[in-house]
Symmetry: D2
Subunit: 163 residues, 4 copies
Amino acid sequence: MEKNEIGKELVVEKLNKRGVQIEEIANIVHIMQSPYQKNLTHEMCLESVESVLKKREVQHAVLVGIELDELAEKNLLTEPLLNLVKSDAGLFGCDEILALGITFGYGSIAISTFGHLDKIKIGIIKELDVKGSNKVHTFLDDLVAAIAAAAAGRVAHRYTNTA
Amino acid sequence: MEKNEIGKELVVEKLNKRGVQIEEIANIVHIMQSPYQKNLTHEMCLESVESVLKKREVQHAVLVGIELDELAEKNLLTEPLLNLVKSDAGLFGCDEILALGITFGYGSIAISTFGHLDKIKIGIIKELDVKGSNKVHTFLDDLVAAIAAAAAGRVAHRYTNTA
Amino acid sequence: MEKNEIGKELVVEKLNKRGVQIEEIANIVHIMQSPYQKNLTHEMCLESVESVLKKREVQHAVLVGIELDELAEKNLLTEPLLNLVKSDAGLFGCDEILALGITFGYGSIAISTFGHLDKIKIGIIKELDVKGSNKVHTFLDDLVAAIAAAAAGRVAHRYTNTA
Amino acid sequence: MEKNEIGKELVVEKLNKRGVQIEEIANIVHIMQSPYQKNLTHEMCLESVESVLKKREVQHAVLVGIELDELAEKNLLTEPLLNLVKSDAGLFGCDEILALGITFGYGSIAISTFGHLDKIKIGIIKELDVKGSNKVHTFLDDLVAAIAAAAAGRVAHRYTNTA
């Protein structure tokens, strides 16, 4: 592997350390797409999540977002950014823009699924969104929503025969 | 007014002709933002919808989308595009991309609200989404969702004092 | 092939009819990426263009854009949209938004290459951009720039080993 | 001013500390737009830059980007992110996505101008892009290009009468 090459494994490891299993992301994909895909299995969803995580720009976005969350937890960001990230301010926006970049490769279904997940916050996304603990998940909840949305878009395009 | 200048009035008129009142768009804005804005009135939402409709690129997107819907109704598009637009195929995507462009000016809240509305389809958006009639609203339902989402993003940024 | 399935061949045919050969799009990809990829061949660029054209949402965007150009040529759009499309008004925007959607799947290099091509207009893009003739290429020049940019992004990610 | 409110002044100060004067950003706006706007003055460009910097999501993006550059300079990011940011890897992408978010509010001209500036790197953007020094400007050069592009889009829409 070349210099600067990251690999899916490292990203999965980073997600795990922050409390996110990729099976939980696959669960969300399944909830979002099973109404449209009769025979959709958890395995197909998991395979799509793993495919998304192989994409270089996705890996980079996850690294940047988790780093900022961790730096905020350790109070290693400067003000006023520290407070913005720690409080997950509703109008912050950078977390959503970074996450939105993940969905771009997967069609308009991925973008609208991301928006939807950002509002309804189900499964592991909901668990991450709990404020008040010592943990900062300002970027992570959006990243997970975006990975799920991208995988949902991939599932939609892959397993639908009619345009 | 200069050549090529369109104006909000023409766009409102076009929307009305296609069965959409801007008060109905304001209703959606109110439903989406009132949980976050205690004192939000219908008037504030309507003012935001009107502000969005004053933007040139928004006006253009509405004109293009409605034109394509109307051409499809009259069978004046060529195949296979005609069938794609008439059937509002789930993987079509152009309707959502055009609409997404409307939300871009209004922050990440606008983008996620658009994605959410695209899924839950409330109010006038739901009425437009009914397939099977002679009417084609493939672009219009997304345009209305995007205008509502943009106005919601504007409301969020305008009436929230803390970042 | 299923209902609504379009296929790359139809899209290539549509482009040819409008005066665009995919080899000319590959030429632009080569000009844009050869400074970064020593061993980049025309064949590699052409393969990337063809890969981009296999993507469903890309096919749809090409169909919509070419349809609007052709309808404008035949004066079959209503005013004021007809004049907006015929004059390729600089602030129109819908042509660029539709094209931008094509680049979304191919990383940030694709987006910035599109912006660059939109300004410098080289090769076949320049030929299409000539105003004053009976032909309307308002959407087509942006679509071609976006396909070239997407293929350039794909080349960059595919043939670069270091992140 | 409320909690979490940042203000344009703080952002200008941050930019200054990193070696960027807003007059230099206005210069780029002038170079990009003066071919289309005969009477465009430096003051009009500067006013547009300042207007862009008043936008909350723009301020947040600048804070995040500069923070990451500074953390990289001080070796306070973890690997492999540290090396990605320090080397300004061509396929990193997060710098461009964050910057792209700034342009979204300003029409398609802003997006294509950003792509163009990202390639041609003129003026202060070029000065920032010099690799090899102790300084890390991986995010800053894209942020400046995006602010200039957004201001250029604003100028185009504001001082053009015909659509």
